[in-house]
Amino acid sequence: MPQTLYDKLWANHVVHVEDDGTALLYIDRHLLHEVTSPQAFEGLRLAGRKPWRIDSIVATADHNTPTTDWNEGIKDPISRLQVETLDANIREYGAKAYFPFLDRRQGIVHVVGPEQGATLPGMTVVCGDSHTSTHGAFACLSHGIGTSEVEHVLATQCLVQKKMQNMLVTVEGPLAPGVTAKDVALAIIGKIGTAGGTGCAVEFAGGSIRALSMEGRMTVCNMAIEAGARSGMVAVDDVTIAYLKGRPFAPTGENWNRAVAYWRTLASDAGAQFDRVVRLDASDIRPQVTWGTSPEMVVAVDGRVPDPDKEKDPTRREGIERALIYMDLKPNMRIEDIRLDKVFIGSCTNSRIEDLRAAAAMVRGKHVASSIRLALVVPGSGLVKAQAEREGLDRVFTESGFQWREPGCSMCLAMNADRLEPGERCASTSNRNFEGRQGAGGRTHLVSPEMAAAAAIAGHFVDVRNWK
């Protein structure tokens, strides 16, 4: 029987199945960071257990680390304790690799894993972070997990999981100039909603997805969780294999040839059955901007803020009304008339080298609008930062009035000092526009790096398809 990519990945990792279908799924790669691991290690210690296989573990500190003044360390004592707790746990138990605060390879765990070649096709990848879906871009089966599951994987090398449904999202046709992977992701969420993929493993396919770089595919898979899907994935092709060749933890020699031969099988078979299929036409996708407090509250940049009076469903209408009050927006106003206070380019969604190149190309020779209080560029990792600096992108940004920072999660979730003040409005390349996400009372509009960069220059949203 023809199998989907998810069927193949699932079958390749099942260790044991209970009568009710609950399975033990073997985990190849366990990514750790400082926020969701301390209680897991503590649980392990209290139960007198040890990690099952430390060479599956790759760890870094990212959520709490500052993006300025690294020579002064982490000033917030509570954040510092959390990062030092990860240091101590890795020291005690070990790991295949650890990129601590201040290491030149440190960065956002979902940027670091792939750039090190620690994420490989056919793997199961878990991390105590919902954006673990990112790794599916390499035809991995990836799961964002809670802390109890982190402890479970540490102790057993397995995840307790029931098989999800198969969902296929296809996007066909060439993307217009100025339309990016981020716009594809937001358009999908706009179409199916933030619960549209709940209970599903989603495979992204079609010509538009195939034409994306690995960075672009990671952006799309990263946002799968914002559509409710714990796992997103893309089949292996030449782009995947070319990206991995020569990465520090990628196989070499004869193992590379064997691995590539296996990886080539990681695609859905012709005629494979999906429980749900959603199709998008690339020609319908324009640059996207979220206007509300959920990623599904999204319109094209040439559109308008919705009018709750036109919504018939009462729960949805109340949701729109509540979001408009929180966002301080009026129904029917033009998206391009929304003025910004801050701009954030970064996060596990859009902080890779390609994102920074695209943003830099928008701002070269221009200057951030005087009404913008802060425009931040936060590279996804130390290696992305170094690469960007070799290309002179840091100077492009700083000469345009952006701040060029040290790597980390930064203002995506504002656990460190980078945040919005109450009432501030931000164009952000991150993944969540929830109330308070970027700082209590802060207002977030999710956009692509190109859209964020152009908004910083103009002081308000502009359609990058007309950018000169």
Binding site: V35, Q39, E42, G146, T147, T198, G436
Partner: protein, 213 residues
């Protein structure tokens, strides 16, 4: 983990869809390296009028009287009635830790986000999916009758109302039910399969050696 068998408890309604984990427990409280003590900061941004930070004396902070959980009639509630896609967003287990620490043992909604749903079971909290119609009905009942209680019987997989109406049946995976009824954490159960895990791993080392070392 605390067992869950039969719960008879006061119901509190949270009438909004897509309640995310950032709302359930804001990120500044995620810096803790403990599992406990999150209850006072459950729904922090909605519950208090000031901006909450770790280390504050929450008992002295100004409450938002408009937030439903601050209404005296819902004091001591152990069942939270919610709308669709409850718990969407991040994988932070601090969300169910905060709900449990506050005193909620069961959640009822038309749907939950996957990771959050899973995390609840690991912490003795039972998330129950009912139809939109049943949930609408329960919202009406809770709003109409102060002191409205429900009984949840996990063994029989039913929600029992006090008005004598037919109990409402719900689904739950057999494995999760077994763990919750007995208060088992599933690491111990999984380690019963240690020989199988070792055998699987040994085979994998030969078939895909690049995944090891």
């Amino acid at each position: 983990m605390e067992k869950f068998t039969v719960l008879n408890g006061l119901v509190a309604p949270l009438d909004r869809a897509n309640v995310d984990t950032d709302a359930i427990i804001p990120k500044q409280f995620l810096k803790s390296i403990k599992r406990s003590g999150f209850g006072p900061n459950l729904f922090d941004a909605w519950r208090y009028k000031d901006a909450g930070e770790p280390g504050m004396d929450n008992a002295r902070r100004p409450l938002n009287p408009d937030f439903v959980l601050n209404q005296p009639r819902y004091k001591g509630a152990s069942i939270l009635l919610a709308r669709k896609n409850f718990g969407c967003g991040s994988s932070r287990e601090h969300a169910p830790w905060a709900l449990a620490d506050y005193g909620f043992r069961a959640l009822i909604a038309p749907s939950f986000a996957d990771i959050f749903y899973n995390n609840c079971f690991k912490n003795g909290v039972l998330p129950i999916v009912l139809t939109e119609m049943s949930v609408d009905h329960l919202f009406n009942q809770v709003n109409a009758f102060p002191g409205y209680k429900l009984t949840i019987d996990l063994e029989r997989q039913i929600v029992i109302t006090s008005d004598g109406a037919t109990p409402i049946a719900f689904d739950v995976d057999a494995h999760r039910k077994y763990c919750l009824l007995n208060g088992f954490d599933d690491i111990g159960l999984s380690l019963r399969q240690a020989d199988k895990i070792r055998a699987f791993e040994a085979r994998r080392r030969i078939e895909q050696p690049w995944l090891f070392g």
